[in-house]
C-alpha cells in the first residue's frame, strides 16, 4: 500500500514539474501577445490622440491584462513617484528586473530600445518605433508559439515518463 502511494506521489510530482515547465512556455505566448496588444493601443493613443505618456500608461493598465498589465502598473507608479526621471530610465530598470515576464535577452533589448524612444521624440518618430517593435514582437510570438507546440506536450510527457522510470528504479 505504501509503495503504491509513494509511486503515485512520485509520478504526480514529476508530472507537475513537466506541466509547470510547459505552462511557462504557454504563459510566454500570452505575455508576448499582451505586449502586441499594448503596442497597438499605444500606437493609436500616441500617434493619433497625442495622449501624454503617463495617461497612456495608466490607460494601458486597464487595457492590458495579466503579467504585462502588472508590469505597466509598476512603470506608471515609477513615473508618478519620479517625475524628474526620464521614462526610458524607469522603463529600462523595470524591464531588466521583471523576471516574471519571462522575456529572453533579445526581447528585453527590443523593448528597452522602444522605451528609450517613447515620449522622448515627436509622434511620428514614436509611431515608427512602435511599428518596428510590433514587427519584432510578432516574430517573437511566432517563435514562442512554435516552442510551445513543439515542447509543451513533450515536457508534460517527460514528467510522466520520468516519474514512472523512477518508480520502476525504486521498486
Amino acid at each position: 500500500m505504501v509503495k503504491i502511494l509513494g509511486s503515485l506521489l512520485l509520478v504526480g510530482a514529476t508530472t507537475a514539474i513537466g506541466v509547470s515547465v510547459s505552462s511557462v512556455l504557454s504563459s510566454r505566448v500570452k505575455i508576448l501577445n499582451s505586449i502586441k496588444e499594448w503596442l497597438l493601443f499605444i500606437h493609436s493613443e500616441i500617434g493619433e490622440n497625442l495622449t501624454p505618456l503617463d495617461e497612456v500608461t495608466e490607460k494601458s493598465i486597464d487595457a492590458v491584462s495579466g503579467a504585462f498589465g502588472s508590469f505597466l502598473k509598476e512603470c506608471f507608479d515609477g513615473m508618478r513617484k519620479n517625475p524628474h526621471i526620464p521614462f526610458g530610465i524607469i522603463w529600462t530598470k523595470n524591464i531588466t528586473h521583471a523576471e516574471y515576464l519571462q522575456l529572453r535577452p533579445q526581447e528585453k533589448n527590443t523593448l528597452i530600445t522602444l522605451g528609450n524612444i517613447l515620449g522622448r521624440y515627436g509622434a511620428e518618430e514614436q509611431k515608427k518605433a512602435i511599428s518596428h517593435t510590433m514587427r519584432s514582437v510578432e516574430a517573437f510570438v511566432e517563435t514562442a508559439e512554435m516552442d510551445y507546440k513543439r515542447l509543451g506536450k513533450l515536457y508534460t510527457k517527460l514528467g510522466v515518463i520520468c516519474g514512472i522510470s523512477l518508480v520502476i528504479v525504486f521498486i
Binding site: L50, P52, G119, G122
Partner: protein
Amino acid sequence: MTNDRGKLLKYGQAVEYLPPRLRSEAMKISEDEKVLVEEFRLRGGQGFSVTIGGRERQLNIGSSVRHEELQTVLELATRSSVHAAQSSICEGFVTVVGGHRIGLCGTAIRNGGIINGVKELSSVSIRIAKDIRCADDEIMSAIVRKGRFINTLILSPPGFGKTTMLRDIIRRLSDSGIRISLVDERKEVAAKSKGIPQFDIGKHTDVLDGISKADGAMFMLRAMNPEIIAVDEITREEDVAAVFGISNCGVGILATAHGEGPESIFARPLYRKLYDLKIFKKAITLLKNEDVFSYKITEL
C-alpha cells in the same frame, strides 16, 4: 529672507529639468548666487552656463553639452510626452510646473510656411520664474478710484518687467474682488500648467491662453462676464482692434505695450487712435537706471 527662500525654491524646481550631470553641477553653486540666477543655458557641443544680471557664466562640467542632454531637458519638461506638447514646442517654448519657461532652439520643421515643430535641438534655456510683488499701493490707488478701475496701459522697453507688473496688478485687483479675464496669448502671464496657473494671479481671475487677443477677448466677454480684461503686449493691428472691441463693451482694459513712454508710443500710427479715443486713462511707465527699477504714472 522669505523672498530668498522663495527664490531658492524656484531654483530647486528649475534644476530638476536639467539632465543629471548638469543638475549636480548647478546645485554646487553658492546659495547667494542661486537666488540671483535668471536662467540656465545649454548649447549643444558647447558649455553649460547660468545667467546672472543678464550675463552668462560658464559652469565647469568637464565636457561639452551633448545633444541627448538637450533632448532630455525637453523630455523632462514635457513629462516624457514630447508628442503631446507639440503645439507649445511650435511656439518655441514649454511652460512647466512652477512657471519656469523652457526655450527651445534647433532646426524648425516647416509645413506650408507654418512651423510644425523643432527637431535636432541645438540650444535650450530654462528661464527661472520669479514671483515678484511690484504693484504697490501708490499704483493701485492711481488705477482704482472710488472702487472703479481706470483703463491702464503699462509701458516699457523689453526686459523692464511689463509682464511682471501686469501679473501683479492683476493679482491685487483680483484679490480685491474684481472679476478679471486674462487673455494670455503667449502663456507668459499665468503660465498655466495642466490648467493650473503657475503664478499667483488672484482669486477672481479667469485665464484663457493659446489664443489671439482679439478672439480671446470676445470669447471671455461671452463666456466669463468680466469686469476687466487684461492682455499682454499690444503689438499688432489686430491687438489694437481687440482693445477697441473690449472698450465698446464697457469692460475695463489693462494692457501692456513696448515703448519708452506715452509720448513715444502714441506718436506711432498704430497706437495713435488709442490715444485719440482716450481708451486708456492712465499709463504706468517702467524705468530702469543702473539695474534699479522704478515707475512713473501718467494721466493720459
